[in-house]
């Protein structure tokens, strides 16, 4: 692994960001909109149900964590799409760059871009809606870590799908978080789900995070072993996603798709 080559991938994305408001604004604009929307919904629910239960950490906290995962995933896929859109695969993969270095560059880019979104969300949630992250205690760290790992896995997997199916397949990638959200129990306990959905939910690391978050809000402890399990699951998904991406890359090199990517298929 060469740090210089990984830096090159990150630097390319930095150059693109620096010169383009249309790339920078979406990093925080949509998450800010989400914060404002769900912040007011939570405030309204607090007023309608004056039971003393605070919906802010339940709803706004859930949206914040979920948006963080989505930003991580999109940080990787959008960085990958930049090479798709500029037909740059032939140029970059004819260099000494390895696939793992390329993935490493995408992940680092995603960390930088999603951090910006996270900061904006934290500022809005705490300053405008009084969301206190002290409510989650130190468990916030493993919550974010698990979502971070799973977001990376989704991003790498999504990039692999586009590498396999061609540029038009990016429309398969955008809805992935929306498909996962109902199973992950972002806004409701897993016990709400029918048994078959609950079984699938157990395979998804975010479901443990959101269960843990609700457990803390309702005054109980979050299960450390469940979070550990979700961390292990997320790590396994990253390995599987890397394996999948490398496999798709090798296939593209074997078939000639890397050199003629805009054709979408070489058959």
């Amino acid at each position: 692994m060469s740090c210089t080559r990984i830096t090159a991938i990150v630097l390319r994305q930095f150059y693109l960001m620096r010169g383009s408001m249309s790339r920078v604004v979406p990093l925080f604009a949509w998450v800010a909109v989400d914060m404002v929307l769900w912040g007011f919904i939570a405030k309204y629910l607090n007023r309608v149900f004056p039971s003393g239960f605070n919906f802010i950490p339940l709803l706004l906290g859930a949206v914040l964590l979920w948006d963080f995962l989505v930003r991580i995933m999109q940080g990787i896929t959008i960085a990958f799409f930049e090479d798709v859109w500029t037909r740059n695969f032939l140029n970059i993969f004819a260099t000494p760059l390895s696939v793992l270095e390329y993935i490493g560059g995408l992940v680092l880019t995603s960390i930088a871009t999603s951090s910006l979104g996270l900061v904006v969300m934290l500022v809005l949630a705490t300053s405008f809606f009084g969301l206190s992250f002290f409510a989650y205690g130190l468990m916030l760290v493993p919550f974010l870590a698990v979502l971070f790992l799973f977001g990376i896995a989704l991003g790498i997997f999504g990039s692999g799908v586009v590498l396999r199916l061609g540029p038009a397949a990016e429309w398969f990638i955008w809805p992935i978080p929306a498909l996962i959200a109902p199973f992950a129990g972002v806004f409701y306990p897993l016990s709400t789900l029918p048994p078959w959905m609950r079984h699938l939910a157990l395979l998804l690391p975010p479901s443990y995070v959101f269960e843990g978050m609700r457990g803390i809000i309702s005054g109980g402890p979050a299960s450390g072993s469940a979070l550990l399990l979700s961390g292990c699951l997320a790590s396994i998904y990253i390995l599987c996603a890397c394996w999948f991406f490398i496999r798709m890359y090798r296939r593209a090199v074997r078939t000639g798709l890397i050199a003629r990517y805009s054709a979408e298929t070489v058959s």
Partner: protein
């Protein structure tokens, strides 16, 4: 003091060994290379080499297998059979090392249009692990008359300027094997001549080899030390572009090219 002559001898022997290695090892060695796409055979069991300080022209009609061959040498297309060695390094098993000694310019692989000239050179310089990169970029910007365009996005460059930038990028790492796929295709005659001169100088200095594809036979005669005629994925002829036409009873390299392109398999059999 008594150890010094021994050390000196050892140093000389080591240096001689390195020089011998450099002299013996070809810039590029391709052996029994094949590639098919479905039923279509794109490259059919070809072998050739590019020596040091040598410019080899890879000629042939459209669809002859030139670009497929170049893509395999660049490691972006896996051969069905055969092996490729760059500086003695196998592209399959020693890919990063082999590719760090290579670079290319091709009309069908423009650099990202949403980065500036300087940004592209910086990114690719890092990818190729170029030492003293800022100085090298300045040198190339001067050499290819790109200095006034350093902060211009590549997407708005003229095709000639893009070709010059592609060549500058191709020379960033002072490659020991330079692959050029129609490098002067979109250049005006004056710029094309200047580019040819630069490439000849590049091949003459140091120990680099150049593999060059072009459809401009005058250019090929002027620049290449040796040419390979490729058709239907096979090498039909090989030789000095200034002598080959006489040997085959044609008036020029272009006439020979046309004759071979019309009846490639007959010539190949002959």
């Amino acid at each position: 003091m008594s150890g010094e002559p021994g050390q000196e001898n050892y140093g000389r022997a080591a240096a001689a060994g390195v020089i011998r290695y450099i002299m013996v090892t070809k810039a590029l060695s391709v052996k029994r290379l094949s590639k098919s796409f479905g039923d279509k055979i794109a490259v059919d069991n070809i072998s050739f080499s590019v020596g040091r300080n040598e410019i080899v022209g890879l000629l042939g009609p459209n669809g002859a297998g030139k670009t497929t061959t170049i893509n395999m040498i660049l490691g972006v297309l896996e051969p069905a059979a055969g092996n490729i060695r760059i500086e003695g390094l196998d592209i399959g098993s020693q890919r990063p090392l082999a590719l760090s000694r290579t670079n290319f310019a091709a009309v069908y692989a423009p650099l990202p249009g949403n980065l500036t000239v300087y940004q592209n050179l910086r990114v690719f310089g890092l990818l190729y692990g170029v030492r003293q990169l800022p100085e090298r970029i300045e040198e190339l910007l001067m050499q290819f008359d790109l200095s006034p365009l350093r902060h211009v996005k590549c997407g708005v460059l003229s095709s000639g300027e893009q070709s010059r930038l592609s060549l500058a990028k191709a020379m960033l790492n002072r490659p020991l094997l330079l692959l050029l796929d129609e490098p002067t295709a979109s250049l005006d005659p004056v710029t094309a001549r200047a580019i040819r001169r630069k490439i000849r100088e590049f091949a003459a200095v140091g120990s680099s080899g150049v593999l060059w594809t072009s459809h401009n036979m005058h250019e090929v005669s002027e620049v290449c030390d040796r040419v390979l005629f490729l058709s239907h994925g096979r090498i039909l002829l090989e030789g000095d572009p200034r002598i080959l036409p006489q040997q085959h009873g044609t008036g020029s390299l272009e006439e020979l090219f046309i004759a071979l392109a019309r009846e490639p398999l007959a010539h190949g059999a002959a």
